[in-house]
């Protein structure tokens, strides 16, 4: 006989009643079982590379959880600290200040059963952007025009 317990963590006591010629016999046997929670996982999607300083769009995709749990918070970490908390999935953005670098995006999920770290991870390469020549043009000195 098989049964799927919809949600954990929980403890359940299985009770079996038997019916024979003499009628119903309740609690003819009992067995305890512990239903374990299974941590949710998350699908992350985003470009493999991003220019430093550019906007990187990360998609917080579908959450898979065999239990009847509801995610209430997505916590995005970028390798150093939790720097983004959102209350729903979908697209979020981030600007990487400097490249060349590799970053691993890690997203934790919070549901009724608590915090589930590293529910999803995604690697991204931050590409260095070469400085452009116009950025080196010096503005004319105002001192030259000074009458003092």
């Amino acid at each position: 006989m098989t049964h799927a317990y919809a949600d954990g963590a929980a403890s359940a006591t299985i009770t079996v009643a038997l019916v024979d010629e003499d009628g119903l016999h309740a609690a003819a046997g009992t067995l305890g079982v512990t239903v374990l929670n299974v941590a949710p996982t998350l699908v992350l999607a985003g470009a493999a590379t991003v220019d430093e300083g550019g906007v990187y769009t990360l998609t917080l995709g579908p959450v898979t959880d065999p239990g009847a749990d509801t995610v209430v918070e997505w916590i995005r970490g970028l390798g150093r600290r939790h720097d983004g908390r959102v209350r729903r999935g979908g697209d979020v953005t981030h600007a990487y200040a400097d490249g060349a670098a590799t970053a691993t995006i890690t997203v934790a999920l919070v549901d009724e059963d608590g915090l589930h770290s590293a529910a999803g991870t995604l690697g991204v390469t931050v590409v260095n952007v070469a400085p452009t020549s116009c950025s080196r043009v010096r503005r004319p000195s105002t001192r030259v025009a000074s009458t003092r």
């Binding site: 006989m1 098989t2 049964h3 799927a4 317990y5 919809a6 949600d7 954990g8 963590a9 929980a10 359940a12 006591t13 299985i14 009770t15 079996v16 009643a17 038997l18 019916v19 024979d20 010629e21 003499d22 119903l24 016999h25 003819a28 046997g29 009992t30 067995l31 305890g32 079982v33 512990t34 239903v35 374990l36 929670n37 299974v38 959880d65 065999p66 239990g67 009847a68």
Partner: protein, 144 residues
């Protein structure tokens, strides 16, 4: 006609041993009892060559039973020399259950409905499983 005093409990559980005391025989004549015939009331009969305690196991309850004792002496067989009524009580069956101690949420948990123990000759026809999470399933057979 001889009369016999019978003594015994007024009830017994199915599968348990019932003790009947074949007591004193009163007979107006100078007859000697040579055989005690006990009809246990469940279709079985036992024959004894002496009085005293005799035992019997009632296979199944719940049922009312009347023990009737016949005595045999020089003058023949005397039916109904003594009688005693009792109740045979049913004993509830128990079942051995087996299954893993833990299971992941959403995964299939397998419960084995094992051996049923019942001192009576009862046949289980329905297994009702309360899974402990608010759901109940009924099965027509045991096993896994």
């Amino acid at each position: 006609m001889p009369i016999i005093v019978l003594a015994g409990d007024d009830s017994v559980f199915e599968g348990a041993t019932y003790a009947l005391m074949l007591g004193a025989v009163a007979d107006a004549g100078a007859d000697t009892v040579v055989e005690w015939i006990v009809r246990w009331g469940d279709g079985t009969t036992s024959t004894h060559d002496a009085g005293g305690e005799v035992t019997h196991v009632y296979a199944n309850g719940e049922a009312p039973r009347t023990i009737v004792v016949a005595l045999v002496d020089e003058d023949g067989t005397h039916d109904g020399a003594g009688a005693l009524s009792l109740t045979v009580f049913d004993v509830a069956p128990t079942i051995a259950l087996a299954g893993a101690a833990t299971v992941d949420e959403g995964a299939a948990y397998t419960l084995t409905l094992g051996a049923v123990t019942d001192p009576g000759t009862d046949t289980v026809v329905e297994w009702i499983v309360d899974w402990g999470d608010g759901t109940t399933d009924t099965y027509g057979a045991g096993g896994e």
